[in-house]
């Protein structure tokens, strides 16, 4: 078992190093983009009735409070130090609201949308792909693979807009039916609560963004699984078991089991892509998750919010990859017991 612990330990060290590198990049990048947050805040205030003296005084105070006058590396160290105590600073734009509470308000919507979409796509896509490969030459294979090819190549954003047009706008324009709402996470007149009315509204708003994330990823899984499963089907152990009269049902289970293993790794890699797709999806559906929070913060260079969001996003992707590696150890005996041999 010590080998497993060593494996986990190495992975953990790599994970932490990767995290800091990614975090540094996420910290530096917004700061080298021209313009600064204080400037854009001042500009928005200047349209009000504040006097120029008051404005410049205000600007100086802001720069001091947010430590924007200090060298970059000092800012970074301070940011890291504070973040360990759970303090991600306050937003420059949202009237001093703590970044932590901003994230807490947006994160659940993203998770509730993203995780079911990823998991559903993975299971259904892999099953369909394996089935298609097993039923080689059948109508089922042709339809599944054809559809998978098309759907997997559709860009997230285009599919999202097409879905809005076809299932929200068109029915309303043509027949006056509100089939699905075109955006937002729930009806804006309602308050998030556990009432039936709110849940129904939430689910109706959920369908389109969910589909726009699910379908492209589903297609990708179908295609890749078909390739892997076809290879497995041609392998000697399938021929051998087949020739000993092992039932087709069991053979399919063999293929599924062995082809799923590389797909578990692929899931971790895909996660990053789905997450970036999610940012655009939220934008299109005006869905109040982390994507919206990030794009708004980027627009006004709200450094603390950008840092905070990246901190969570990067951690999610890395952690998911780490868990995937670990799951691989658990489910593949060849990796788990690779050292035991007679």
């Amino acid at each position: 078992m010590s080998r497993v612990y060593k494996f986990i330990f190495t992975k953990l060290v790599i994970l932490i190093i990767t995290y800091f590198i990614a975090l540094s990049i996420a910290f530096v990048l917004p700061r080298i983009v021209p313009g600064n947050p204080v400037q854009s805040l001042i500009v928005s205030l200047a349209s009000g009735s504040l006097s120029p003296e008051l404005l410049s005084d205000y600007q100086r105070r802001l720069v001091e409070v947010f430590e924007l006058n200090k060298p970059l590396h000092i800012q970074f160290i301070n940011f890291l130090r504070k973040s360990f105590t759970g303090d991600l600073g306050v937003s420059l734009q949202s009237y001093g609201e703590p970044v932590v509470s901003l994230i807490a308000r947006h994160l659940p919507w993203t998770i509730l949308l993203l995780v079911p979409a990823i998991v559903t796509a993975w299971f259904i896509g892999n099953y369909l792909g394996a089935r298609a490969s097993y039923k080689r030459g059948s109508i089922f294979e042709k339809v599944t693979i054809g559809a998978g090819m098309v759907v997997s190549q559709i860009p997230y954003y285009w599919l999202a807009m097409t879905l809005i047009f076809a299932l929200a706008v068109l029915p309303r324009e043509l027949w006056g039916v509100d089939l699905f709402p075109p955006g937002s996470a729930y009806d804006p007149v309602l308050q998030p609560s556990l009432t039936l009315e709110f849940i129904i509204s939430y689910l109706r708003h959920y369908v389109l963004p969910f589909l726009s994330l699910l379908l492209p990823s589903l297609g990708g899984w179908i295609i890749s699984m078909r390739v892997i499963a076809t290879m497995e089907l041609g392998s000697p152990y399938i021929f051998y078991s087949d020739t000993l009269g092992v039932k087709d049902k069991i053979l399919f289970r063999y293929v599924l089991r062995n082809s799923m293993l590389p797909q578990v790794t692929a899931l971790g890699i895909q996660l990053g892509f789905v997450l970036s797709g999610q940012i655009i999806t939220e934008q299109i559906f005006n869905y109040q998750g982390m994507g919206i929070l990030l794009t708004r913060a980027l627009g006004v260079r709200d450094y603390p919010v950008i840092q905070g969001v990246f901190m969570i996003l990067i951690a999610t992707v890395l952690l998911a990859n780490f868990i995937v590696d670990f799951v691989y150890v658990l489910i593949d005996p060849r990796i788990r017991l690779g050292h035991r041999r007679d």
């Binding site: 000697p236 152990y237 051998y240 078991s241 000993l244 039932k247 035991r340 007679d342």
Partner: protein, 333 residues
């Protein structure tokens, strides 16, 4: 007398070359019988179609290979005869494979489902034929068989990759014979093993027959020195056809077909008569099986080729009490 009979069996690979379909005649008109209680060696060089013939004997034929024609009849222990070349996949799977015929594939390690323990692999085989069997019953059956074959019983709890090459090969032998099939088709079982392990595997196979677990065996190899240790008769295959069948000693010491002679002459051997003769080889290449020569397929490499050899295919005829040869040199008149 007979266990398995092949009459004019043909199986081709359909290939796409450019836009044209072409058939590779890997098994082309094979006549062969496997007798009750015998071990038949099937020898030939790489690409002669012997592994394809193994698949065809069992009727497990997958694209691009397809069954072109012929008859294969299985004679079971209980006295029934079954024309397996007429059965469909479902029927073969239910009534023939594993029960009456079984295979030992070329590479045992890759033939075992890699992510299951040996006992689970055996369990899947047994419960496919008998839905009521439990895992515990499987383990006791498998352990018994492993013991008979001289393997330690901890093998049941191992994954395939935890076994050595020779151990995996013998484990495959144990699993293949769990249902006591009449016929075992063994395809190059020793090609990936070192010489001492080869000996062990051959001993294991031989003890299967001696203990009556199986009745007849087809032992496929390119290595005549290996097959000589175990086979009662040897069939020589060349370019998709059987060219000579005879008892082992006759093939070794008195080969009649020019190809068999070429094969025997190319073996390094310490026996005096072979040593005196010296080592020879067969010049040239086997023919292209997409467009095989019209007459005898060995004609371009044969030192005794006559006119008729280029025009007409030699029939496989009986030249003395237990010897079949397909060569015009042996056709009288």
């Amino acid at each position: 007398m007979k266990r398995l009979e092949l009459r004019n069996v043909r199986a081709y690979y359909r290939l796409l070359i450019g836009n044209r379909e072409a058939d590779v005649r890997a098994v082309d008109g094979v006549n062969l019988e496997i007798r009750k209680g015998e071990i038949l060696g099937l020898v030939g060089e790489s690409g002669c179609g012997k592994s394809t013939l193994a698949k065809v004997m069992l009727m497990n034929i997958n694209p691009p290979l397809f069954f072109k024609g012929g008859t294969i009849i299985l004679y079971t222990r209980s006295g029934n005869s079954l024309e397996i070349s007429k059965l469909n996949r479902e029927k073969l799977k239910k009534d023939v494979w594993g029960k009456h015929v079984a295979i030992i594939p070329q590479e045992a390690m890759s033939a075992l489902m890699p992510t299951l323990k040996i006992k689970r692999i055996a369990y899947d085989v047994l419960r496919s034929h008998n839905p009521d069997i439990s895992l515990d019953e499987t383990v006791s059956l498998l352990t018994k068989r492993l013991k008979e074959l001289g393997l330690p019983d901890y093998v049941v709890d191992r994954y395939p990759f935890e076994l050595s090459g020779g151990m995996a090969q013998r484990t495959v032998i144990a699993i293949s014979t769990l249902l006591n099939p009449e016929i075992l088709v063994v395809d190059e079982p020793t090609s990936a093993l070192d010489v001492s392990t080869q000996k062990l595997v051959i001993k294991t196979l031989w003890s299967l027959a001696a203990k009556g677990i199986i009745d007849s065996m087809v032992f496929i190899t390119h290595d005549i020195s290996v097959v000589r240790q175990i086979a009662d008769r040897i069939a020589v295959m060349y370019a998709g056809k059987i060219v000579e069948v005879a008892p082992t000693e006759d093939i070794i010491f008195d080969p009649q077909h020019p190809y068999t002679r070429g094969l025997i002459d190319s073996i390094i051997s310490l026996e005096p008569e072979v040593r005196k003769r010296g080592l020879r080889y067969i010049p040239g290449q086997p023919p292209n099986l997409i467009n095989p020569p019209q007459g005898c397929r060995f004609v371009d490499r044969c030192p005794f080729a006559k006119d008729i050899c280029r025009k007409k295919e030699p029939p496989l005829i009986k030249i003395n009490n237990d010897r079949l040869v397909a060569c015009w040199l042996h056709v009288k008149g």
